[in-house]
């Protein structure tokens, strides 16, 4: 499959008044055509910084790229000027943010906010943009678009605002859509609707999606492949099935163990991961998860493990996969919905 996006060894640092925070440290991943890649991790793991780096929306200073490469359709984005990036943002790559309550301009009608990128990127006139805006609102499932297009964001509900955000993001049929926690701020019932909508539209407009989330439930629902981030690094990556049914990194186990599951026995408790994420202004020398890892070995503290390739699609950075380390079975809590695992 053709690669839309190739991120290689990306490093993004921030200068704070205390110290340099190494938010993203050597992250590499690809996004293929028409696929959804989920980047999963807890807050502070670097997932949002990674996504905003692709758009080059990191404020600089205090942020800075400290090496690496981001290739979009074969072109290096880090070499592009701000002017060239403007032509890519909103047209080739779009973005949806977490909180629909704050991500729309409160003093501008929704219609005008959709029209802006159409006028900028498609050279449409105001009336053409309005017509296209109506179609888009219809497409994202907003009832009565004729009336809604002239309303302000505060007249929309939370779910409708996120639909409007999606309409803005998809206005120019982008090749890549970055959705940064698009459902976190929404009610559970609305969450499912928004995810369904994104999946539907992905088929219709043939876009690739990077889905940033901390919620593995969302991942199972919407993604093809998963990258698990921790401490500014990708610790494990694989297809959804591989990550859910054959996880190999203790942090992935922890994430799966802390996911509520209806199939799970009532007696089994949700497992929290003890401890706090590492301080990225002074990152650990070895594996970032070592301090919280129940299986940590001496080597973990001093050496960052390489990726062990488990299949064509699955890679994991954990010393447990070295043949010299003791055999460790994933804990019961990390096993998803037992039944499917038995079938295999």
């Amino acid at each position: 499959m053709k690669k839309v996006l190739e991120v290689k060894d990306l490093n993004v640092f921030f200068d704070t008044y205390k110290a340099e925070v190494q938010a993203v440290r050597g992250v590499s991943f690809d996004v293929h055509e028409k696929e959804t890649l989920a980047i999963v991790g807890e807050s502070g793991s670097g997932k949002s910084v990674t996504s905003q780096s692709i758009m080059k929306l990191i404020p600089m200073p205090p942020g800075k790229f400290a090496g690496g490469s981001i290739k979009f359709n074969g072109e290096e984005l880090l070499d592009k000027s701000e002017k060239q990036m403007e032509d890519i943002r909103g047209k080739e790559i779009s973005m949806i943010f977490q909180d629909p309550m704050t991500s729309l301009n409160p003093t501008m009608t929704v219609g005008k906010q959709i029209a802006e990128s159409l006028i900028k990127h498609q050279n449409m006139s105001k009336s053409q943009a309005r017509k296209r805006g109506l179609e888009l609102l219809e497409l994202v499932g907003i009832p009565n678009p004729d009336a809604r297009i002239d309303q302000y964001p505060h007249e929309y509900s939370g779910g409708m605002r996120q639909r409007a955000m999606i309409a803005i993001a998809l206005a120019c049929n982008p090749k890549l859509l970055i959705a940064d926690e698009p459902t976190t701020a929404l009610d559970v019932t609305i969450q499912a609707q928004i995810l369904d909508l994104m999946r539907d539209l992905q088929d219709k407009v043939n876009t690739s999606i990077i889905l940033i989330t901390h919620d593995l439930g969302v991942v199972a629902n919407a993604a093809h492949r998963v990258a698990v981030m921790y401490g500014g690094k990708i610790v494990e990556t694989g297809t959804v099935d591989e990550i859910f049914y054959n996880p190999t990194h203790p942090y992935t186990w922890g994430l799966l163990g802390s996911m509520p599951d209806l199939d799970r026995d009532g007696e089994e408790e949700l497992q929290a991961i003890p401890g706090t994420p590492p301080d990225l202004s002074d990152p650990p020398k070895g594996c970032p998860f070592a301090a919280r890892c129940p299986y940590a070995m001496k080597v973990c503290e001093n050496h960052m493990p390489d990726y062990f390739e488990l299949s064509d699609t699955q890679k994991s950075a954990c010393w447990l996969l070295d043949e010299r380390s003791p055999k460790v079975e994933p804990p019961e809590s990390a096993k998803v919905g037992g039944s499917k695992r038995d079938e295999e």
Binding site: D9, A296, M297, S325
Partner: protein, 312 residues
């Protein structure tokens, strides 16, 4: 990976033994934990401008007591033989139109200005904190009525009210302070009320109540201390405002009366003679500005230090 490729074979077998952790480490909190006030003080110390302000105020306070004695002149004796002299070795800041020593008058004015500014601000704090704490703590109808009264007073232009009060009330230093605090406390009351309303539902207040603390105790032992930050900032920023008001009123002839000297009256005298003795304006004007600037930068510095979130 960004670090040099490492040869897996180089790592020794013994490295793959489970890590033995010191249990006490697990609960160790990374980073030095410091108290709120200590932290605020550390941030304040970094603010050069605010430290400069503190230095200026300390200097002015010292000179307001010892400036007069140093010069050897008092602030009120007229000497018609030496009117309107330029600064000289005898009279370091010169003399005014009645031959009085401007140097000692300046420091006497400093005493008056600082006294009025600090007194007015303190009275504002006392009334404002009590009013705001009571309104915020009890809420409901009490709050409704108390804040309505405050709103009505607040809608009157401050300086206009002060001027009108000065017309009605007998002249004097305390009259000036009372007139200034008549509506001056409202700002403080509003800030304290907002803070108290936020805090009164916090768990530690609930805990105190379950332990049988009465309202007074909860209000002034638990709530007010936790609003101390905003109170201090407001207090500091009220002082330059009061100093300005005193100077403004004295300039209009409504403030401090002769023979008392204040920076406002000295400015007034100097502006009258601006064309002939422009340097006479310099000393009182410079010190009014310097004092207001000092308090303003201290207040800004305190706000930044106490509320790091608001720091821009």
């Amino acid at each position: 990976m960004s670090q040099p490729e490492l040869n897996r074979a180089e790592i020794e077998q013994t490295d793959f033994e489970p890590l033995v952790r010191d249990e006490s480490d697990a609960e160790k909190i990374s980073g030095e934990s410091t108290s709120y006030w200590k932290d605020a003080w550390r941030r304040f110390k970094k603010n050069k401008l605010a430290l400069f302000g503190v230095g200026v105020i300390l200097f002015l306070a010292f000179m307001s007591f010892f400036g007069g004695p140093i010069s050897g002149y008092d602030y009120y004796t007229n000497n018609y033989a030496i009117t309107n002299q330029s600064p000289s070795a005898d009279h370091w800041f010169g003399t005014d139109n009645l031959g009085r020593d401007v140097f000692s008058r300046t420091w006497y004015g400093a005493k008056i200005s600082l006294f009025i500014g600090i007194m007015a601000a303190l009275i504002d704090v006392v009334i404002g904190v009590i009013w705001g704490a009571v309104a915020g703590y009890f809420g409901g109808k009490v709050d409704e009525y108390m804040m309505r009264i405050a709103d009505i007073l607040y809608s009157l232009p401050y300086l206009l009210v002060v001027i009108l009060l000065m017309v009605i009330l007998p002249q004097g230093l305390w009259t000036l302070i009372i007139a200034m605090t008549f509506t001056g406390w409202i700002n403080m009351a509003r800030i304290v009320r907002g803070q108290v309303m936020q805090l009164r539902n916090e768990e530690y207040v609930l805990a105190a109540r379950t332990l049988g603390a009465n309202s007074n105790r909860i209000m002034f032992r638990h709530l007010v201390p936790n609003t101390l930050g905003p109170i201090l900032v407001t207090l500091t920023l009220t002082i330059p405002n009061a100093i300005f008001t005193e100077a403004f009123l004295s300039y209009l002839g409504l403030g401090v009366q002769a023979p008392l000297a204040s920076w406002g009256t000295m400015t007034n005298d100097a502006i009258g003679a601006l064309q002939y003795y422009p340097y006479q304006l310099f000393f009182p004007a410079f010190f009014i500005c310097l004092t207001m600037l000092a308090f303003n930068v201290i207040g800004d510095g305190m706000r930044d230090a106490l509320d790091p979130k608001s720091r821009k």
